[in-house]
């Protein structure tokens, strides 16, 4: 249950990033509400899973799913750049952030 809610929290974070993109396409209250629900419920589920899982690992997985998911959705549905340099630099930031969460 803790792992399930952690993974769901990561996916909701990616959904939140998608809604940031959606807001750019379609600036309305429905998108703003979905964005707040996405990020809000993600934080609540993360908080729940942190009661059972080690903090560094849980944060690392949550960040990982959020960044990878958000980037993929951005490229597939919102026409964000697929420049290989951009992907390598995002991967560097992601690996370093996950590494920092694991060693801390």
């Amino acid at each position: 249950m803790a792992w399930f809610s952690l993974i769901l929290a990561g996916l909701l974070e990616a959904f939140g990033v998608a809604m940031i993109n959606q807001l750019h396409v379609n600036r309305n209250w429905r998108t703003v509400v979905l964005l707040i629900i996405g990020f809000g419920s993600s934080l609540i589920l993360l908080g729940y899973s942190l009661q059972f899982l080690p903090m560094g690992t849980a944060y690392a997985i949550w960040t990982g799913i959020g960044v990878v998911g958000g980037t993929l959705i951005g490229m597939i549905f919102y026409g964000e750049s697929r420049d290989w340099r951009r992907l390598i630099f995002i991967a560097l930031v992601l690996c370093a952030a996950v590494g920092l969460k694991l060693v801390s």
Partner: protein
């Protein structure tokens, strides 16, 4: 320095405060400060991502926030210093600088916004 990148950096800086706040807040005022930091930080990140690519902004926001949190826990909360952390922060900064360079070029070519 582009205005929107400035917003991302300020948002990441504020993220340090609310992450520490979530872990260490203990009374009404510290919780109020934490909640204000969450709102302002996310607002800046989201408005910056209306001009810059959202995936890039989110990665930089999360990355710099993590690095800043690790540094402040070492400086102010007695977490142990490790060389591994310095190396990872260096890699992270290379990624952020790279993203800034690549994204500036793209927005000139694309002229989407």
């Amino acid at each position: 320095m582009n205005r929107n990148w400035m917003k991302v950096f300020v948002a990441a800086f504020l993220e340090i405060f609310w992450v520490i706040g979530l872990a260490h807040a203990y009374d009404f005022w510290t919780w109020t400060g934490t909640i204000i930091a969450i709102i302002v930080s996310n607002y800046l990140m989201i408005t910056a991502a209306q001009v810059l690519p959202a995936g890039t902004v989110y990665a930089v926001f999360v990355g710099l926030g993590t690095a800043g949190t690790v540094v402040s826990e070492i400086l102010f909360f007695g977490e142990p210093f490790k060389w591994k952390k310095t190396l990872l922060i260096l890699i992270l900064l290379i990624g952020v600088i790279g993203l800034k360079l690549v994204t500036d070029n793209n927005s000139e070519e694309g002229a989407e916004s």
